[in-house]
């Protein structure tokens, strides 16, 4: 016969997708879901949220609360240079990934079978490799005796090896390479969502392939483009490993500056810089999230 257990359940519902289960079983015990989520929430608070918050609060001074560190920023040349360099790099990298990524996304969506699988493999394999290894790979490529220089010398295009490594260009190239999949995947997702009969309809109405692309495909892929741009830009802002490994000694990023300051135990200053970085990232995300359709594209491109 059936068990006589008093346990009850609360109303279920999905988390990230938009499917809603309209189930209601008696008076739901509101406590159970909270009990299930509480361990992780408490854990994150203790070992992540509170530490980060505490650190950020250090930006307001050691003994008493003051905004001097923030007030000093607009005249802080080191900070301004670094911040500008970080922004500039992020812009270049975003533009680069967009330019290179869109065609690949198109190719991924338009091919079928083995070709599509192959393209996917070529995109995913680097994507799955750690940033450290990929940055090292670029060191191997761009060094004095790296592949690029050896090829250029062997082809007679240059007499002596070029200095590619440890320049801003090296950072940009390496970051474009590393962040390219983050641009390709959201765009590919958005392209896949476009109803194929729309392109056919445009064609039937007399639009050339180029016009169909420009007036139908491109506009409809914008949510994916926006998601990719946002993702790449925000990630670029926070990049540390790659610029440190392949970048020039005189151009440092904000995250490198923060790390430096922590090494020198300038906690208040480091915390202040961190706050600026964090707020910049959050502000960008908040801005973009207002755009229609981006939420979906963002979610679906999550690794």
């Amino acid at each position: 016969m059936s068990e006589v257990v008093q346990a009850e359940r609360g109303p279920p519902g999905p988390l990230i997708s938009t499917r809603v289960a309209a189930l209601e079983v008696r008076a739901p015990k509101r406590l159970t879901p909270l009990l299930l989520a509480a361990p992780l929430l408490l854990y994150m608070l203790a070992f992540y949220a509170l530490p980060v918050l505490a650190m950020l609060l250090r930006s307001l001074g050691e003994t008493e609360w003051t905004f001097t560190h923030y007030a000093a920023l607009p005249t802080d040349t080191v900070f301004l240079k670094t911040f500008w360099n970080t922004l500039y790099t992020a812009l270049i990298v975003t533009a680069g990934t967009l330019l290179l990524g869109y065609p690949v996304a198109l190719a991924l969506v338009r091919t079928k079978g083995v070709t599509a699988a192959l393209i996917l493999v070529v995109i995913l394999l680097p994507f799955w490799t750690s940033v450290l290894v990929r940055s090292y790979a670029w060191m191997a490529l761009m060094g004095r005796h790296g592949l690029i220089n050896e090829a250029l010398v062997a082809a007679g295009l240059v007499e002596r090896p070029l200095r590619i490594l440890n320049t801003p260009l090296a950072t940009q190239i390496a970051m474009i390479h590393i962040l390219l999949p983050y641009m390709i995947l959201p765009i590919a997702n958005a392209l896949r969502q476009i109803d194929p009969s729309l392109a056919r309809a445009a064609s039937g109405l007399g639009a050339s392939p180029w016009h169909t692309f420009r007036q139908v495909t491109l506009p409809l892929s914008m949510p994916g483009v926006a998601a990719g741009v946002l993702l790449v830009f925000v990630l670029s802002l926070g990049f540390y490993i790659t610029p440190a490994m392949v970048g020039g000694p005189r151009e440092i990023t904000l995250s490198m500056l923060i790390a430096q300051q922590v090494d020198q135990l300038n906690w208040s200053y480091a915390a202040c810089l961190s706050a600026v970085l964090l707020v910049s990232a959050l502000a960008l995300i908040g801005l973009f999230y207002r755009l229609p359709g981006i939420g979906n594209a963002f979610r679906m491109s999550a690794r």
């Binding site: 059936s2 068990e3 079983v25």
Partner: protein
């Protein structure tokens, strides 16, 4: 099992003043219904009529905001679904994809602590009952829609519940398959003798399968009765329009004759069966079924009391079994007439003037 209003194998269900509201919308607005032990009762209605919500409340997945549900005399409101011992079949089958057919059917037995050997035996019997012997080792995704539905049925009855609830179980199947499964369910009901409560929006299905039908509209029961009763004597315009096809003839009451009402319709006097006693001069609506009307010649008059009216043929369609005519009366009312397409009956053509007749007993005032 508890006694009370129960006899035989089937549970008796009593719904009293059942209500279910979401915020300010009332899905069920006051349903009182007695479902007899062992009967096949269908809740029939358009979407939004509250039929599924009512079923869900009987099952225990929705909590009524007012009213009571009693199964075999015992109130079950507040009892969780897993204690109610009711079988349930869902529209999309809801078979557990990670279990084999045999494990699916054995699931309720496992919850009840039935020993493995006994479980295997009962599962085997259930599979035989739904004509799927030997399918035990397959997975639901390997079965067709009709087969999945039969497995769902087997799963819902293997633990011998006294009540079986079905929420539009045949909705996802094609016509032929649906008709076959309808007959199988009918037979299953006869074999098992338990109470079936069936929800559907398909009135043909309801008419075919049910002992009684409760027609629902906007959260209330519009009429409950045997299929013939609902078909021949619809109690309201809604029921007349929802079940089968109906003609509606506006008329003015002229008087009463025994239990008939005399009214003037389109310049002629007609008589109708009437449960109430309307006043003279009152405008009313008479209804009749298209297949109960016939073309007549002035010479041949039917023997039984009948009504007749002059019409013009506006459309004539040959539809295999029957001929279907759209007619127009002198004052513009549209009438549909269906008659068998026998060679002996002369087909009418568009534009032809004719006279039609139908039995007074088939004319209802709604």
């Amino acid at each position: 099992m508890r006694d009370g209003a129960s006899t035989g194998h089937g549970a008796a269900v009593a719904l009293r003043g059942l209500e279910k509201s979401y915020e300010r919308v009332a899905a069920v607005a006051g349903v009182s219904l007695d479902i007899h032990s062992g009967e096949f009762l269908t809740l029939l209605g358009p979407s939004g009529s509250g039929k599924t919500t009512t079923l869900m409340m009987i099952a225990g997945f929705e909590m009524p905001t007012a009213g009571d549900i009693a199964i075999d005399g015992q109130s079950v409101v507040g009892m969780p679904p897993y204690k109610r011992n009711i079988g349930m079949v869902f529209q999309n089958y809801a078979l557990f994809p990670h279990l084999t057919v045999a494990d699916n059917i054995g699931f309720p037995l496992k919850q009840r602590g039935v020993a493995k050997a006994e479980r295997l035996r009962l599962v085997g019997e259930a599979l035989e009952l739904v004509h799927l012997p030997g399918y035990g080792n397959r997975y639901p995704r390997q079965l067709s829609g009709g087969q999945q539905q039969r497995v769902a049925l087997a799963r819902a009855i293997v633990f011998q519940p006294r009540l079986l609830l079905m929420d539009e179980p045949l909705g996802a199947l094609d016509k032929q398959l649906r008709e076959n499964l309808q007959l199988e369910m009918r037979r299953l009901h006869a074999d098992l003798g338990i109470t079936f409560i069936y929800v559907t929006h398909d009135q043909e299905e309801a008419l075919t399968m049910s002992d009684r039908i409760a027609v629902m509209n906007e959260g209330l029961v519009a009429q409950v009765g045997r299929p013939e009763e609902l078909y021949d004597r619809p109690a309201s315009r809604f029921v007349a329009g929802f079940i089968g096809e109906s003609n509606f003839l506006p008329a003015i009451v002229r008087g009463l004759e025994g239990d008939l009402v005399v009214a003037e319709c389109d310049g002629t006097i007609v008589r109708a069966v009437c449960p109430s006693r309307p006043a003279s001069g009152e405008p009313v609506m008479l209804t009749t079924r298209p297949e109960r009307m016939r073309f007549i010649d002035a010479a041949t008059a039917p023997e039984t009391p009948h009504n007749r009216i002059r019409v013009t043929v506006t459309e004539a369609v040959f539809a295999g079994e029957r001929c279907r005519y759209m007619l127009r009366t002198l004052d513009g009312t549209s009438i549909v007439l269906k008659e068998p397409s026998s060679a002996a009956i002369r087909r009418r053509s568009v534009g032809e003037q004719a006279e039609i007749a139908w039995s007074v007993a088939d004319t209802i005032l709604v």
